[in-house]
């Protein structure tokens, strides 16, 4: 059976060159990077080279990069690290309703510890209005954290504008760039941010490697205390192979970024164009300001998990924001925040493509997607409208 991986926004295959770069650090170079003997020193040099490449990808200085184990860790580190560092200055944070759980749930934890958090609304395309950011700022505000690009609806936020507002007010700005770094050009300076989270598995690097960019001179309290690894800011014996892999992946992403964008964008456009020919189907997120390999839809009258399963049966791996496809059994809060009613949010489906995607895959996909929708609509009690749908809140039945 054909296998087409269309869940690149969740995670990515490892680039073969990345794995090659990692291998020696699984084999000969196992020494502790802190140690004084040879194997340890080789490991330390490898880490510093990786830091250099990783910094280059986002146009940062290498000492501004702290390696972590995941995007989620970087987000937790950024929010708690700034909150605890600046709690004497103020106890107010601003985030958006588009944030990933790793930002949202950290914000909720901080609320329990006495911080106040403003959750900014989204427009129907998922955009945060910079004017709303400005209005939300108080004397107590110590951090603004806005996601760069949504993995669910693909929309890219105007981070540079928001960062400018933050900078104007002397407030630190963090962006969760996990789904953008490696997929679109990212420059920490032109984005006007002080902290940025990203993860290697989003650009053909290994799982288990993430980074937090911390602008020089910014004080953060560690999330993981311990030894003096990462300049005392993130403890734990370094995961040398993963860090080396992140460095290599960053190097490849820097080199190939435009090529990758040019490769996926026409495919994404073809998916969207073909899909929009289907009745009662619409695009979610912004049509222009969106990730180049990201196509996301609401398909009326059928449910996302069922689409996923039928597509999986045809070899196509993808994602959905429907309640049934999430283990929490709740429709994606982002879909609700951009004004999609809960019953329509059930029909969410997300396709994300990558450098391994071919024209043949796209042709096969366009055909199959249409067939799957047709099939599920034959089973559905709805055909022309949502007759009989109660507009009540749905509590999960247990």
């Amino acid at each position: 059976m054909k296998k087409i991986y269309m869940d690149h926004v969740a995670t990515n295959p490892l680039h073969p060159e990345v794995l090659d770069a990692m291998m020696p650090y699984f084999k000969e170079e196992y020494g502790n990077p802190l140690s004084l003997y040879e194997a340890g020193m080789n490991a330390r040099n490898a880490i510093e080279n990786a830091r250099e490449s990783t910094a280059s990808l986002i146009h940062a200085k290498s000492r501004e990069i702290i390696f972590t184990a995941s995007g989620a860790e970087s987000n937790n580190f950024a929010l708690k690290g700034i909150a605890y560092a600046l709690q004497n200055k103020g106890k107010h944070l601003i985030v958006s309703k588009m944030e990933h759980h790793s930002v949202l749930n950290t914000a909720r934890f901080l609320e329990k510890q006495g911080f106040a958090v403003t959750y900014l609304p989204l427009d129907k395309y998922g955009l945060v209005n910079p004017a709303d950011v400005e209005k939300a700022i108080t004397d107590e505000t110590i951090l603004i954290s806005i996601i760069h690009a949504s993995p669910e609806i693909g929309t890219i936020q105007p981070i540079n504008e928001i960062g400018q507002i933050a900078r104007g007010k002397g407030i630190l700005m963090h962006t969760d760039s996990v789904s953008s770094v490696g997929n679109i050009p990212v420059d920490v300076d032109s984005l006007n941010v002080d902290l940025m989270s990203f993860a290697a598995h989003q650009f053909y690097g290994p799982k288990g490697a993430g980074a937090l960019y911390i602008k020089e001179g910014t004080r953060v309290v560690p999330l993981i205390y311990g030894g003096i690894q990462e300049n005392g800011r993130r403890a734990g014996t370094e995961n040398v192979p993963a860090i080396v892999g992140m460095g290599k992946a960053a190097e490849l992403a820097t080199r190939d970024l435009q090529k990758r964008i040019d490769h996926v964008k026409p495919f994404r456009d073809s998916i969207i164009e073909h899909a929009l020919n289907i009745e009662n189907l619409f695009l979610t997120g912004h049509s222009e300001q969106r990730l180049p390999g990201h196509a996301s839809f609401i398909v009326d009258f059928i449910e996302g998990e069922a689409m996923l399963m039928l597509l999986a049966g045809k070899g196509i791996a993808c994602a959905s924001g429907s309640a049934c496809s999430s283990r929490a059994l709740k429709a994606s809060p982002v879909l609700i925040s951009i004004g999609i009613p809960a019953h329509q949010a059930q029909g969410s489906v997300v396709f994300t493509i990558g450098e391994d995607t071919s024209q043949e895959d796209i042709d096969y996909f366009n055909e199959t997607f249409q067939a799957v929708i047709k099939r599920l609509r034959e089973i559905s009690p709805f055909t022309k409208g949502w007759e009989g749908t109660e507009d009540s809140a749905c509590t999960v039945k247990k």
């Binding site: 009258f301 059928i302 449910e303 996302g304 998990e305 069922a306 399963m309 039928l310 049966g313 429907s322 309640a323 049934c324 496809s325 283990r327 059994l329 429709a331 009613p341 809960a342 019953h343 059930q346 034959e378 089973i379 559905s380 009690p381 709805f382 949502w386 009989g388 749908t389 109660e390 507009d391 009540s392 809140a393 749905c394 999960v396 039945k397 247990k398």
Partner: protein, 123 residues
């Protein structure tokens, strides 16, 4: 995640479709919650002679709909009323825990269809 039986009933659902001349129709669930099931039955001599369904929902919901219509056919109304969430899950070789309760509306929809038939009969 799903048993082979679930996958079979999901990918090849039995008894799909509307029944214009149904003797009883039962609807359970709400698309807001991700699942809605509509069951149609034909009844003769207190026995279900035919059952069909239309379902909006996930893989489990569709498989449950398929199996409940299959199981109901040929049962007396009293026998059919004994079908439960548990017996449907068992007939499907099990359902994942989180699907056990949220997408397993078949027994309830069938009960409603039987009640609908009975109320139409004035019983």
């Amino acid at each position: 995640m799903y048993s082979e039986k679930v996958m079979d009933h999901f990918t090849n659902p039995r008894n799909v479709g509307e029944m214009a001349d149904a003797d009883g129709v039962g609807t359970e669930g709400n698309p807001v919650c991700g699942d809605m099931m509509k069951i149609f039955i034909k009844v003769k001599d207190d026995k279900i002679t035919e059952a069909k369904f239309q379902t909006f929902g996930c893989g489990a919901a569709i498989a449950v709909s398929s199996i409940v219509t299959e199981m109901a056919q040929g049962l007396t109304l009293d026998e059919a009323l004994k079908i439960t969430k548990a017996s449907l899950a068992e007939a499907l070789d099990g359902l994942p825990p989180q699907k056990m309760h949220c997408s397993n509306l078949g027994a309830d929809a069938l009960r409603k269809a039987i009640e609908d038939y009975k109320s139409k009969q004035g019983k």
